[in-house]
Amino acid sequence: MAIIERPSVTTTPAVIAPATPSSSLGTLRRPVTTGGWKAWLFTVDHKKLGIMYMATALFFFIVGGLEAVLIRLQLAAPNGKVLNADLYNQMFTMHATTMVFLFVMPMAAGLANYFIPLQIGARDVAFPRINAFSFWALLFGGIFINLSWFLGGAADGGWFMYAPNSGPVFSPSHGIDFWALGLQITGISSLAGAVNLITTVLNMRAPGMKLMRMPVFTWLQLVVQFLLLFAVPVITVALFLLSFQRNFGATFFDVAAGADPLLWQHLFWIFGHPEVYILILPSFGIISEVLPVFARKPLFGYPFVVFSGAAIGFVGWGVWAHHMFASGLGPVSVAVFSIATMAIAVPTGVKIVNWTLTLWGGKLVYTAAMKFAIGLIVLFTIGGLSGVTHSVAPSDTQQTDTYYIVAHFHYVLFGGAIFGLFSGFYYWWPKVFGKLLNERLGSWNFWFMVIGMNMTFGPMHILGLQGQPRRMYQWTEARAGEGFFNLGFWNLIASIGSLVLTFGILLFLINVVITTRKGQVAPLDPWNARSLEWMTSNPPKEHNFDSIPTVHHLDEFFHRKYQEDANGVMQQVKTAEEVLKELEDNADAHIHMPSPSYWPIVLALGMPVLAFGVIYSIPVAIFGAVVILFGAYGWAIEPSTAPDDDIDPPTESGTSMGVAHVS
C-alpha cells in the first residue's frame, strides 16, 4: 500500500523508524533494517530495487555478450571449430534469450523502478512488496534458465522456439524445459511489475502532475507496462502448452498428431511483436529526456512524442504476422499485415523528426549521454529503414531467415535500445550514485561502440542479401563467393567488429570502476536538467522528497529555475540549490515509509523450486508449492506498512511513534 504522511506540529523532516521484529505477525518476524546485505535482501525501496535490477541486467549483458563473441569467433573463418553444431544452437538461442529477457527488459524495468516515482513526485511505487517480488522473481528466473548450461545443455531451438525444433525429438535435453519454465517466472515478474508501475503512474502523481505534464520517459514506460500487461499472458499460454507437450505428453504443436504448428507462431508473435516495442520504447523515453537537456531547448512537439508513443502501443498489436510472411498465411492476411507494418513506421518516424527538431537551433552540449542519444537517432533510423523493407512481403520472403534480418534487428536493438540505455547510464549515473562518470572515457566508450557496432552488423546486410542463412553454424570457402561479395571477408569484418564492440563495452565497465573508486562528486544539478527527479539530493534520500512538490508545468524543475523576463527571454532566477532548499524548508513532518519484508524473496524463491520439481521430481515441486503458499500467507497477514504498535521502542508517550531524524 501507499505511503502515509502524518500531519504534525514539528517542522523537522523525519522518517518513522524502521519496524523492529514483532512476533505478532505471521511466522517470521518483520526484518529490521540494519545496514549491510540485509538492508538489500529484504528492502522494498524502489531505488534499491532499481539498482539491483540494473546490476542483475548488467551481469546478464556480459553473459549474453560473451555468448555473442563465441558466435562471431565461430563464424570468423571457414569451417569454424570453436563450437560444435549443438553448442552453436544453444549459444545463439541463449544469446537472444539473455539479451531480450535478462538484459534489456530488466534494465528498462530497473530504470522505470528508479525514476518513475522520482519523475512523478512520489515516494515509492504503489505496491512496494510486489516490487521486491518482481525483482527476485526476475533474478531467480534468470538463474534458473541459465542453470540448464550445467544440467545437460541449454535451450537450442532459437529464441522464438518454433515447432518442431522445440519438441522432444529434436531437443531431447532439458534445455527447453528450463527455458519455458524460467520464462514463466520472469513473465510473472514482468506482469507484477506492469500492474505495479501502471498503478503508480495513474494513481500516485504529485499534485498538479497531470498526465500531459509527465516526463516522456514516464509516459513511454507507461505504454511499455500496458504492452507487458497484455502481451505476457499470451506467451504464458504458449509456454504452458509447450511445457505440457514436453513434460506431460500433449501434442499441441506436433504435426504428426494433426496439430497446427502455426498456433505456436501466432501465440509467440502476438507476444513477440509488442515485445520489440517493450524493448525500444524505454530507450525512446530516455533520449527524449536527454536531448532537450543537452540541446538547451524544450522537447519539440511533446504531445506528438507522447501520442505517437501511444499509437505505437496500439498499432503494435496489429503487425505480429509480419514475422510469418514465409509461412503461407494467404494473400489477404499478408496484405493486411504488410500495410499495418508500413503504417507503424509513421509514429516512429514522427519521433525521429521531433528529436531532430529538438536539436535544431539548440546550444548542443556533446556529453557522452548526448552522443549516445544522437547515436540512437542515426542507428535506429538505419535499422528502421531496413525494417520497412521487411514490411514489403515479396521482399521479406527473400530475406526471411537470412543475416539481413539479423542486421536489421541488431541495428534497432543494439543501435536503438542499447544506445538509449547507455545514454541513460551517463545521464542518470550522478543521480543514482552521486558521482559523474568520466566523460573522456565515456567518449571513447561511445566511439568504440559506434564503430564496433557498424563493423559487426553493417556487413550482415550484405551477407544476408547474398543468402547466408541466419543460423548456419559453419560456412565453407567453396561456397563463399568472390570479390566484393565474398562471405568470408564480411564474416571476418563482422567478427573483428564484435571485438571492437566488446572493447567499447569494457571501457564502460572500466569507467564504472574508476568512477566508483575516485570519481568526481556530482554537483546537485550537473546537467542543468528539467524534470522532477533532479529536484532532490544525489543520491535521493530514502523518502525521495522532503515535501511533495506541487507541479505547475511540463519540465517543472526547469521552470522553477528559469522564468521569462520582460523581453520574453528565459532568465535564471534560482539555482538548483535554492529550489531544493525551498522543498527542504517546507518538509513534511512525519514520513511513513513502507517497511521491509521477508515475504517477497520467500515467495519468489518458491517458484524456481517448483519449476525444478516439474522437470525432475514431483515431491520437489510440491515442496516448492508449499514454500509459495507459506510466502503467500505470510504476505497476506503482514501489513505493508508497519502499524504503530509494531514499532519499537515506543517513543512520545501515547503515540508510540518512533521518529528518526533525517541525516
Binding site: A2, G249, L267
Partner: protein, 200 residues
C-alpha cells in the same frame, strides 16, 4: 483496526484517479487475465474438431449435468455480492455467512468438475488422447484452478478476519475477492457457451 481504516481512507483520497491502488491494480490484473483465457480459448477453438481416434465432444459431454454446476457457480456470484454488500455495511456476521456460502458453492462447482473429468477419463478421454481432449482439459483445468484459488482466498480471508488480522480495509479486501470471483464466473459463461453449447 482504527489505524487500518485511516490508512485505507487516506489512501483513497490521495490517489490521482480516486480509485484505491489495490482496486486499480486488481482491475489491471484482471485485464491481463482476459488475454490469458483468450489464448487458451483460441487454442481450444482451433483444436476442438481434431478428435483423432478419440471421442468427439458431443459423445462425452453431459450437458444437463454441466448446466446445473454452471448454475451453481453463477449463484455463487449472487452470494458474493451479498457478502460484499454486508462487508460495506460493516455487518460481520452476514459477511462471514455469505463469503462462506460463496466458497461452498464454488467448491460444489469444482467438485462437479472433478466428477466430470473422472467420468470423461473412464469413457476413454485421457489428457493425451487427442488435440481436442488436451485443449479441453487445459482450458477447463485453468479455469478450475482459478476457482480453486478463489475458494482458498475466500476461506483464508475468513480465517484471517476471525483473528482480526486483515491488513488494510476489511470491506475492500472482500470487494477485491468479489472482483476476482465475478471475473472467474464471467469467464466460465464464455467457456461454457463455447465448449458445451456450440455444436462441433
Amino acid at each position: 483496526m482504527s489505524a487500518d481504516h485511516a490508512v485505507a481512507s487516506h489512501d483513497t483520497h490521495t490517489t490521482s484517479t480516486g480509485l484505491s491502488n489495490v482496486k486499480l491494480g486488481m482491475w489491471l490484473f484482471l485485464g491481463s487475465e482476459c488475454l490469458l483465457f483468450g489464448g487458451l480459448i483460441s487454442t481450444y477453438m482451433l483444436y476442438r474438431g481434431r478428435v483423432g481416434t478419440g471421442p468427439t465432444p458431443m459423445q462425452v459431454f453431459d450437458i444437463p449435468f454441466t448446466s446445473v454446476s454452471s448454475f451453481v457457480l453463477l449463484m455463487s456470484s449472487l452470494t458474493m455480492v451479498l457478502g460484499v454488500s454486508a462487508a460495506h455495511k460493516g455487518d460481520d456476521r452476514n459477511t462471514y455467512l455469505w463469503v462462506a456460502v460463496t466458497a461452498l458453492l464454488g467448491a460444489t462447482f469444482v467438485g462437479g468438475q472433478v466428477y466430470e473429468f473422472t467420468a470423461f477419463y473412464n469413457e476413454g478421454m485421457g489428457f493425451t488422447t487427442s488435440l481436442f481432449t488436451s485443449s479441453f482439459y487445459v482450458l477447463t483445468g485453468f479455469h478450475g484452478v482459478h476457482v480453486t484459488v478463489g475458494i482458498i482466498m475466500l476461506m483464508s480471508t475468513l480465517g484471517i478476519m476471525k483473528r482480526s488480522k486483515v491488513p488494510g480495509s476489511k470491506s475492500e479486501t472482500i470487494e477485491m475477492l468479489g472482483l476476482y470471483w465475478h471475473f472467474v464466473d464471467i469467464v466460465w459463461i464464455i467457456i461454457f457457451t463455447l465448449i458445451y453449447l456450440i455444436p462441433v
